[in-house]
Subunit: 136 residues, 2 copies
Amino acid sequence: MYSIDKLKEYLENKDVKPSYPRLKVLEYLLRYQNHPTADQIYNALVNEIPTLSKTTVYNTLHRFVESKVATPVCVDGGETHYDATVNEHGHFKCQICKKIFDFDIDLEKACEKGLTGFEILNRSINYKGFCPNCVE
Amino acid sequence: MYSIDKLKEYLENKDVKPSYPRLKVLEYLLRYQNHPTADQIYNALVNEIPTLSKTTVYNTLHRFVESKVATPVCVDGGETHYDATVNEHGHFKCQICKKIFDFDIDLEKACEKGLTGFEILNRSINYKGFCPNCVE
DNA sequence: AGTTATAATGTAATCATTACAAATTTGACA
DNA sequence: TGTCAAATTTGTAATGATTACATTATAACT
């Protein structure tokens, strides 16, 4: 699906050196699109990379965020989830199953007011409630 | 500005028993509209209520959220801020001064797609960047 | 006043994240 | 290929916000 070479190129274009852990974290994010936490990524990769350290996962994710390879998703307090999808979209977190769902939203039409003079770097739209599987 | 009686009535309408700490927390939230953290609220009130415990502040805030007296604001990970304003609005957090600013936004116009079958309980819109005072 | 439910308190535990110093790897260059 | 410097990774210990929980206090109701 995502060749190592493509991933390498992608990281290099974003000025991130494509080390093995970084490639693996990126591959994981892109393949599962699962909004994983640092802990989930660590657990998913540690079998394949036995020397992997959780600090490396955190370092990598911070690096990714800084270089806009990934976006942090903070719906509740608690753990931060990460997302490597590029297009802007909203996140819906189900209160029951805790899964995060993506949805499309067009903020251009939402006509925000009161931000003249502000420099916006990042927008996040987080909804909470019950997903179709969990509504009762 | 906010009489104790009004606050009492307000809490009772939301099915929250108006104990003294709860009234004081609500008063603080409404008066300063400062998006304080639990810790900030605790520090602001502990002089006036020397027996106040931080756990009580957390309990109170949880109770408020549950009863829709307050809304949690989680922009980054880290600490949760709280807001007792009723109308829906966005939050902008300045990366430099860390202040949170409110802004108006009309999500009805944003035509979200992909949420049919979902029951939405809560929406939050968080922007990050530089506020006018901190842009350089 | 006595009893029961609800709320407040304080301490100890938890959990995600960060700090930091040491070890390892990488890449450039001779 | 060997060497060196820079960048990355690692492991452990610390931090900081939040929660768990048992105890005490307060309020409500008979």
